[in-house]
Symmetry: C2
Subunit: 327 residues, 2 copies
């Protein structure tokens, strides 16, 4: 199949860039040093590539992602790096399942849901889930009391990711990891799970890094000094050309918009509607022309799409279902 044959909007992934990103990360964090996060791509075919490079443990953000990974035979060591108050679907999986807990309630949910292993989730600076570091030991004791295996701790330094200066990011990461290390001393276990694409190199504490974005690489993080290149664009068709603007068929329902408007090379984007992007192009366009739209935020963009098209030049090499969507 040729790219020209695709219906639009369509997610394109440059095969060579994806391959380069995957290999670069694997070289830096081989085997179990990396626990790829599937939330960025929600695609078991891509996860299978990561597994083939030696990463057999995966990180998930939703129960559906856990179920999909297990069903795809990628359940050797799945971590749900998120809290759930009903773990029965997890307990029913044919997979090794570990779930993050940060409260008595989530420990109870894991125990009664049939999950056997947990990580104590620690707040290391991002105001989201995670207990205070000084609570971690007490929660671990409670989890063990409830018959759960406590594998260690988890603490995502997500508040650091907005920092584009690499040195400052490293400093903030170290600060965060001091908190996690303190918690780890109280909790025990062999796992310290943390990190992401922007801190994979400067996080010295984590035994495993939960990076996901690196594979397809979000253009929002380009320029942050990491060796990964944006591999995704959306193919769109120009459906209308007027005197001062053109319109392509890629709108709000094909784009994560929390980081703002997408961009189009050689054009200035005016605004997006449900199914349209209106833009002014530097060069004249004809109706029917194809343009590449770069989403401002990749993860919520992919969650709108049914397929990823892996391309090389004008050829579509593979079509991968985005099969981990939903909840």
């Amino acid at each position: 199949m040729r790219i020209d044959d695709l219906r639009t909007p369509a997610v394109l992934v440059e095969a060579s860039l994806l391959d380069r990103n995957l290999r670069t990360m694997t070289a830096a964090l081989p085997g179990p040093r990396l626990r790829p996060h599937v939330k960025a791509h929600k695609c078991t075919a891509l996860a299978r590539r990561q597994a083939a490079l030696g990463h057999r443990g995966f990180t998930c953000a939703t129960i559906r992602e856990m179920e999909g990974m297990a069903a795809a035979g990628l359940g050797e060591d799945l971590l749900l790096a998120n809290e759930v108050v009903d773990a029965r679907r997890l307990g029913a999986l044919d997979a090794r399942v570990t779930v993050a807990v940060d409260s008595l309630e989530t420990i109870e949910a894991a125990a009664t849901g049939g999950v056997r292993e947990v990580l104590i989730d620690v707040n290391v600076g991002l105001p989201r889930c995670g207990c205070r570091p000084e609570e971690a030991g007490r929660l671990a004791a409670r989890a063990r009391q409830r018959g759960l295996q406590v594998r260690g701790v988890m603490g995502y330094e997500g508040h650091v990711m907005a920092q584009t200066d690499a040195d400052e990011r490293a400093r903030l990461t170290s600060e965060s990891m001091e908190k996690l290390a303190a918690a780890h001393r109280d909790v025990g276990g062999e796992v310290v799970s943390a990190g992401g694409t922007l801190t994979f190199a400067c996080n010295r504490l984590a035994t495993e890094i939960q990076a996901g974005t690196y594979a397809l690489m979000d253009s929002a993080f380009a320029g942050a000094g990491v060796p990964f290149r944006p591999a995704v664009s959306l193919l769109a068709t120009v459906i209308s050309v007027q005197s001062d603007h053109a319109v392509a068929d890629c709108g709000l329902k094909a784009l994560g918009m929390d980081h703002g408007n997408p961009s189009i090379e050689g054009a200035r984007v005016w605004f997006c509607s449900d199914e349209h992007v209106t833009f002014a192009a530097e060069r004249p366009l004809r109706v029917g022309a194809r343009v590449r739209v770069l989403p401002a935020h990749l993860d919520p963009t992919l969650a709108y799409h049914e397929h990823i098209h892996v391309v090389e030049g004008d050829r579509v090499l593979e079509v991968w279902p985005v099969d981990l969507r939903g909840w």
Copy 2:
């Protein structure tokens, strides 16, 4: 089923509010005076309700919506109010199909794709699709030359919708409709299709109004002086409670974010992550509590979800697939 039994995040629609919105609009614009737009809800079960109230013609924004409506037996008179450069999927439908055209290329696509009827799409002020009013007659002649039935004109005054003052909105709508009337004089045909939820009452020219938002009513438009009430909320589960904030499982991948953060009654929303909303609640919350999250923009929110749950009190009356998603 009870609401408490639902997995979260889940889209809830209050049955009584939906019913009231539907009946209010039907009373104002009975039968063919309204051509409901399905893009807002993407749900054939909801469209069937609209059809049962006497609206047999529908408006769509994508080819997938047209296909889904035809497959659901709702294809008596489907308008694709959007331009396409490949109309073959439309020509293959077992339905009455009309498509918007605004260029020689889209006319050619309709003719060669097997579509038989078109509307000339006219730019009445929104910089998106639509020809200049003075071009409409020439395009209509060309369409007829190519064997197409020209049913009339279409012109969406979308730029008016941001105007919250009802009088000013009415004035701007009249201005826009003067342009459409001029085009209609040159084009002929019995159809003048225009309007939306915020201009349904003040658009005096259109023979049919393309409103869609009114059914579920976007909270973004509440307070704009129209007699419809927001009927949708997202049910979310509190998964973590910390000293100064709580976290629920409804994030960027469950919410259209182009209008900004969602709101939660009795709480201040801090930020959304992929699968989380972090917020400060006025009253203490426990882990496992359910909260209602109000999306800032409804249409791109629904496009993330597989189901709409129609509820009354704590009961789930019906579960409707959001079956018109994708392209």
